[in-house]
Symmetry: C2
Subunit: 240 residues, 2 copies
DNA sequence: AAGTGGTCTAGACCACGGC
DNA sequence: CCGTGGTCTAGACCACTTC
């Protein structure tokens, strides 16, 4: 057949994905030897450079360690530092049940500070979403999200109570979340927050103001989070 | 021999270094086109794959951006997020005067928690350094550092009052500081801390517990920092 | 000594961008 | 259209680790 429309996926990507799957599935465990460049080349019928490319990419991903003269080995499981995760994802990572309650979902017409965080004009219409988060049946965080109301007009209360906001943004809206810039400080609890989080007014809260950006560098979302200090520790790795 | 100049022939390394120098010297400015793969190959008399390797490495370093069909261009200057800096360095970056007062510098024989943070046995002898930090003539942080007393026996009070601890570690001890893992939370001020930081007991403090590691992955230093919440905001970038 | 990853060659075709 | 980066071949020699 002339002009065959084969799947146009690149050989090295396929090899890379296949080995990555074998590592993530547990078939290959940390420390195990991965096939050598020459083995990969032979088994997949590609040239050495291509086999090499696949293994080099796996190393860049951190899944694999290459030692000259010795071989390629499955890397010890990586601790993900400075990784941006939604609440549901963090809870899942700790095998905790996801419970959160939507306190409010409404349009606000004048929130100049929050609009500025999203690089929108001061009078922009914003969608404000306030949620109370629970872990182990105790409230531990109050999170308020602000969206550009024009872009996210059809977010519904029920979809938000059910699922992960990150999931909705990435799948229903097709957005690629890339990074977040956070400002972290501590602040005393006001009366309302204290009541919601079942603590005493004036007790310390960890406050995180987070602006979340897409891969295109556009501010998607501003989140003001207040966390009970006794239930929450942030982990950060900084580099010299 | 440490410090030997690595002038291995590796063609791609030389090309990479030469282009990197031209960028860092300002000869090539952000947005400028860098020579294409084919130009590099011809000018340096190497094959395309080798020229390509050099440019790909420059991209990995973040010095260069490659756009298919268009070319290779000098990348905009990188913003350093999550950068590990000592107090003196942070103050210098904000053009603020460095003032800090050594409250204590002493040997402690039994500090099992702090020893554990340094991966030392529970009864290890530690050097404890407590410093009160000022900005704009107001106290704003209380930092307590713990060292392995056997390694850092000759730290003196005067050298510490004068200079940056990071500078001393890197220059006097020849250590290469690589990264720090931090635990961040909020906590109410106890009586002594409140007095030192001129605040009310119970008011919120930002607490940062920081373990600083060398390039060899060895824990060098454990720092417990307490920061007046109203004077201190932490900036972090997280990636998806 | 055998096997590994690291570097390198001298080509090839493709997909994409800008003119 | 031409030039660009992205993928790929079928080899080669070297430096290194392991036995």
């Amino acid at each position: 057949m002339p002009g065959t429309k084969e799947e146009r996926s690149h050989a090295y990507k396929k090899i890379q994905a296949e080995i990555a799957d074998r590592i993530r599935s547990g078939e290959l465990r940390p420390g195990d030897a991965v096939e050598s460049e020459r083995e990969v080349a032979r088994r997949y019928g590609v040239s050495l450079m291509t086999a090499r490319h696949a293994l080099t990419e796996l190393e860049r991903e951190g899944l694999v360690e290459r030692r000259r003269g010795a071989g390629t080995f499955v890397a010890p499981p990586r601790i993900h530092f400075n990784k941006l995760m939604g609440y549901s994802e963090q809870m899942a990572a700790r095998s905790l049940a996801v419970v959160s309650h939507v306190l409010a979902l409404k349009l606000v017409g004048s929130a100049p500070e929050e609009a500025a965080r999203l690089s929108l004009p001061p009078n922009a219409r914003l969608l404000k979403l306030e949620r109370l988060r629970h872990a182990a049946n105790e409230p531990f965080a109050l999170e308020t999200c602000y969206f550009d109301a024009d872009r996210f007009h059809d977010l519904t209360r029920t979809s938000l109570e059910r699922g992960s906001l990150f999931f909705i943004l990435e799948h229903n809206y097709g957005l690629e979340i890339a990074h977040a810039d956070e400002e972290i400080d501590a602040t005393p609890a006001d009366a309302r927050t204290a009541r919601l989080l079942e603590m005493q007014p004036g007790e310390p809260l960890l406050r995180i103001r987070q602006t979340i950006y897409s891969a295109q560098g556009k501010a998607l979302l501003y989140v003001l989070g207040l966390y009970r200090a006794d239930r929450h520790t942030l982990h950060v790795r900084r580099f010299r």
